[in-house]
Symmetry: D3
Subunit: 165 residues, 6 copies
């Protein structure tokens, strides 16, 4: 692998962190998909499923929190560029066999930097919100395996995570 | 277990989310410890270790981000109370055998609600920052197993996660 | 009415705005209730009602936004004290006769200043969110008559709005 | 009217809220004008008018708050896009006959989404700030009739509110 | 001077930054006064003075910005505790002889940590705002000598800056 | 000098502050360099230098804070446009002769408004953070002479501060 490519880009000559200069990069349409999960006791998952049907939709709150998290990414991640987001969506999938909820966030933008961090942050904030909403009944929940599943656009082009297909 | 205790507390009678009323709760000293990890390619981990010694300390940036994340928790998690934080610290441990970095956040407060969400958020933001700082060299990093390890104080008293001891 | 009481308190001797010094005030349990409404076309209201039953719960999103707005009040209102909120809830009531949605926010705290502004901000942000979610189908919605309905606690004691009982 | 057009756009197939994908929309110059009012006791209005002349300019503070509110809109309204604002202004008009202050906000941008929400938020925050600055002398103030007066630009073109001309 | 006292307190055993644990500290009433100045061309200062009398009050905007800056301090300064502010005021003094504006911020709180950073941040944000409002006519303004003038309360008691009396 | 050029641009016809309309301005590549310093006791400076080598890197934390401050500029400065930042870096230089640390921030963007305020804010926040990290050992530190050193791009073109070359 090319040495130039594999250096950390977020440090200046003094060895201190910087926000990378992207002014020479071309603007392009970009998309990122991140995934993660939160596992819990079977009784907790049952309550979440029941709440969707009746009163108390945990995932509805997590959805809003995750999408708002997309817009707070550059506030949270020090060297992350603040960018205009074209669109953002989150999907939950109940995995009863493994007693967990799968979370997928899709974020799109058109610009000089990508939205990988925004998608990963959306999944993280959605998972944290599920924890918060359910912690009165289950403190042993675990946020699991958050990763970048896919990205498109930008100079490095398409990336599909070879470990999760 | 008592049925009243195990109901979700974050919903009102209309089935909509609310910020739980804690005005009747006693103030107490509280502490929460959350843990997580981020795994990566061996070459990425080596770069982080080298950077600490020389130029480009990834974990120094993640430390600052995680502690600032503690103070942003109530902004991110919709039903979370905004609270005064007494103190906060983060520790990283290099786990070369498994090619990952272990992250532990400790948060303290004195008040009517605890700091579990703040500790979990600190670990999440620190892990996301490590991802951001290293993503130019490794897009396959995975944020792993973030959980509440321990909490003390409050009406429910001490909790030690039985799955992670 | 006493002249001392009716002066604006938010200005210093130079005639410039200040955050009032409340350090001599006693801490007390406080509560504020604010109300407002958003009126719309009958077809829009019908869609909102239908969405609650099926797919697309506008009011669930407005609920989360309003409660998060409570925590942003001191960020938005320049001379407003930043305070710890004990609890917060929002209720919506469908007023089909007048083709509008009534919004009521209740906020509680224990401290040296009250939560009137937090309750009024919650109603405003909830109403703005309903507008945002429905503006593709109805740009003529009107946010109506936001007012403080009631407050308790503090030196001035209970207030019940004589114009809205 | 076409059925496709009048559906809520802020929900995904699972019926959960999303930030609408605008990446296919054309960028255009856009402008939005929102209006509202805050009514109060005659004595309160007199104090505000007097303060403008002498010490204690309530509307000067509300002006700053409203314009800062424009920049916080995407932080407050969950599904609202974060956008670059080209310019923003607020104007107040004293309506002594009806003992109220009329508020008008104009916001401009060039982009793929409009600034209706930013203009409505500016009016709301300005009105809330007037309430805050005057609440020591008048708790019965009412925020009245906030609506979109006009918008230009974008695919749907010009809109002039037929109910308020 | 005692060696223990003069160590930096914001680092943990790994040499990384932390938010100091203040849970053992006693709560006390505290006050901090910070001062600074911004110097400019004589013509610029004249415009500011004229604006106060007529249209365009630069210092009124800087006043609001400085007080809002007090509430954002913990968001800006990484290891700073987020605290409740009891009151805050800013005063400007025109120093025509030296063609500059003197800025003084006073901040009060009751708690386990002081408000030195809040007062210094208020002066900084007020000075930056004056720069912003006047930069179209004078880009050579200089923000000068921001320092802590005085503090009271807390374990270390009163401090009066010996260099500025 | 042309009278039109030297008027304050941030006020409307009513004499109230506004965010200047830049929609007619051309987008261009822009850069701003701001400089400042913080002076301190010789013993304090020695500790900072020692910390860089060993445990406790004050300037590493100030670096992160300053760069995050760039992204918060429009939140802090009322009439400042919120903009996309292309890149940002901060450099510290130890000036042992004068017992102070020199701070230089460089910020770049491509757009209709410049990044002078962002660069000045970065220097201010970095200096405030150094104060915060060291205040336990030295309360007499002074933030000194923050100014715009240089800017390029935009209608007014290059500016080099004649007082600091």
């Amino acid at each position: 692998m090319d040495k130039e490519i594999v250096e950390f880009t977020h440090f200046n000559e003094a060895g201190r962190s910087k926000m990378v200069d992207v002014s020479e990069k071309k603007s392009s349409e970009r998309m990122a998909v991140a995934r993660g999960a939160i596992s819990m006791k079977k009784a907790t998952l049952k309550k979440i499923i029941d709440g969707q049907m009746k009163k108390g939709d945990v995932l509805g709150v997590a959805q809003v929190a995750g999408i708002m998290g997309v817009k707070r990414t550059a506030d949270l991640i020090p060297m992350c560029h603040n960018i205009f987001i074209s669109g953002s969506d989150i999907n939950f999938q109940i995995d009863e066999a493994n007693s967990r909820i799968l979370i997928e966030a899709v974020v799109k933008n058109t610009g000089q930097t990508g939205v990988e961090m925004e998608a990963l942050t959306a999944v993280s904030v959605a998972a944290l919100t599920i924890y918060d909403m359910c912690k009165a009944v289950d403190k042993e929940m675990t946020i699991e395996a958050i990763y970048l599943a896919k990205k498109t656009g930008g100079k490095s082009g398409e990336f599909i995570n070879p470990n999760h297909q």
